[in-house]
Symmetry: C2
Subunit: 320 residues, 2 copies
């Protein structure tokens, strides 16, 4: 089966661990083992997040020249290089010799009229004091929000991915059986300018939404979103908390989830299977193969005979 | 014709200009016009340098966390992302719609027994005071050299490229007519460890030497090395300074050149044409097409009937 795997950037540079190259490398090595386990039986295309990494690259650049912050498209491209290299190297180390891998930089087009541009929501880069924030806000015209722990951070828009610009070479490689790593960080955000030319834009794209678009475009059988949560839960944190094993997108849409990183995964899962994808899986990195084989995580797919109508019950539905 | 173009990192982040994302973007836009001019009539594969950029990324990281310098393989991967993205975007903007481009991260294997590891020569990253240098030298076991302008800098080994690890997918794309950008910064330096697995290494690889290996492996017709010097000169800076228009590799090998960036270009040119390559060109970025068409720069190729013996004369040889 052809599987697009979306790997969280948080799984590679973890909260609470030191923000070092060594820590990231160790985590990539672990992730590569889980991916290789899948790749032995399936064709995988690996997309990855870059949340912590793009923040760290912004910190690096801002520490050197605070008056010259590097644009988010360029920082995103740096993270595609850094993370893509590490994944490729460790994945190839874990796979049988002779396996071909390729890591492609991926520009993803967004719509300049996307309403996300009016409402920046993604915090990024350093935490500033109230005084510093006043200065950088004035100088760079940044939107800023107060942090729960004090201080202020820049927030940037997170528009929807509209098109993967490098899809033809990606498809060529995938069809030739090459293990492709691409669309890192949801893709480098670009838009068509008034002169018709593509230009980078100050934004970040959700990697799960881009992975869904990639899976759909490549007609993948499975979209697998790997994170640090076991499954999608009903009544998360409440008395009736239950892991969902199998569910249809319509039923999933009826459940309300707290805002956070699960939201985009649920939307991406629904988008993919409604567009004809076989199954979307959500679960832990170390369960990658078990999710595909139905032994862990949450699987989202159209219920047999129920693609047009919503399921009536709210119980966990286990499909064959 | 199939042309591997090696573009200097100095042409994109220039000495004397501010080290900003904007300055680099402007230079990339200019470079892309010259490349597009070539790409209209030829198939081009673009390799690029990263000298100033890998230094800048090292400065960025060191400013944020001086105690945790980022390894050179990871910094090199970051520059492949950053520079590759900018070149791809501006090249595609300059080419007719429908042209396919792909930028591939490229790991290049070096030999851990390369004598370069015993004699680090390439300065990289920040300039340290004598006192700071003592500390970082002790902490990281770096080799350091005194700068002409004062202070000390880290020097790192520059081993020869042995193999381009991602060559199969690169060849697949090139053979399908895709305009490929790869081998940035001479490639991400990796070596085979004792356990048989590939690992990153603290080194930088000369981009012209890697471009020659790439051109040879892809059986390119031309290797074109673009820089800010008009041509190869005899008696550079002397009373008999003469630009060389056409020359054979054997004759070129007899001329002695001052150490500097021209050395690797001359070796790369000789290697490529001796291995069967049609022609190696050296000259200015803006003359890219003129060099290929014989109107500018220096062209190195085997003289007709003289592939086995050296030419006797030392005059400029103009081949048909």
């Amino acid at each position: 089966m052809r599987i697009v795997v979306a790997l969280g950037g948080n799984a590679l540079l973890k909260r609470g661990e030191p923000m070092t190259a060594e820590a990231q490398h160790t985590n990539v090595r672990i992730a590569a083992l889980a991916l290789a386990d899948l790749a032995r039986n399936h064709q995988i295309i690996v997309a990855h997040g870059n949340g912590p990494q793009v923040g760290l690259m912004a910190l690096h650049a801002a520490s050197f020249a605070p008056e010259n912050p590097w644009p988010l498209d360029v920082l995103g491209a740096e993270t595609e290089g850094m993370i893509g290299y590490l994944i490729e190297q460790e994945l190839m180390n874990a796979l049988p010799p002779g396996t071909d891998c390729a890591t492609l930089l991926t520009r993803v087009e967004v719509d300049p009229k996307d309403p996300a541009f009016d409402q920046p929501t993604k915090p990024i880069g350093p935490v500033y004091s109230a005084e510093e924030a006043k200065l950088v806000r004035a100088e760079h015209r940044w939107s800023m929000v107060e942090e729960a722990k004090g201080g202020l951070r820049r927030v940037v828009p997170s528009p929807l991915p509209v098109a993967i610009l490098n899809i033809a070479p990606i498809r060529l490689l995938v069809d030739a059986g090459v293990c492709v790593i691409c669309a890192g960080g949801g893709g480098i955000p670009v838009m068509r300018g008034r002169d018709g030319k593509m230009e980078g834009i100050e934004a970040v794209i959700d990697k799960d939404r881009t992975a869904a678009l990639l899976a759909q475009t490549l007609m993948a059988d499975i979209l697998l979103m790997l994170t640090d949560v076991e499954a999608v839960f009903r009544d998360w944190g409440g008395p009736d908390q239950t892991a969902i094993a199998d569910i249809s997108p319509d039923e999933l849409a009826e459940i309300s989830f707290a805002a956070g990183s699960m939201g985009p995964k649920i939307t991406a899962a629904g988008d993919f299977v409604r567009a004809g994808g076989g199954m979307a899986g959500i679960g832990r990195l170390q369960d990658a193969r078990a999710i595909v084989e139905g032994r862990a995580g949450t699987r989202v797919r159209i219920a047999h005979g129920a693609s047009e109508t919503r399921l009536s019950g709210r119980e966990t539905v286990t499909l064959p």
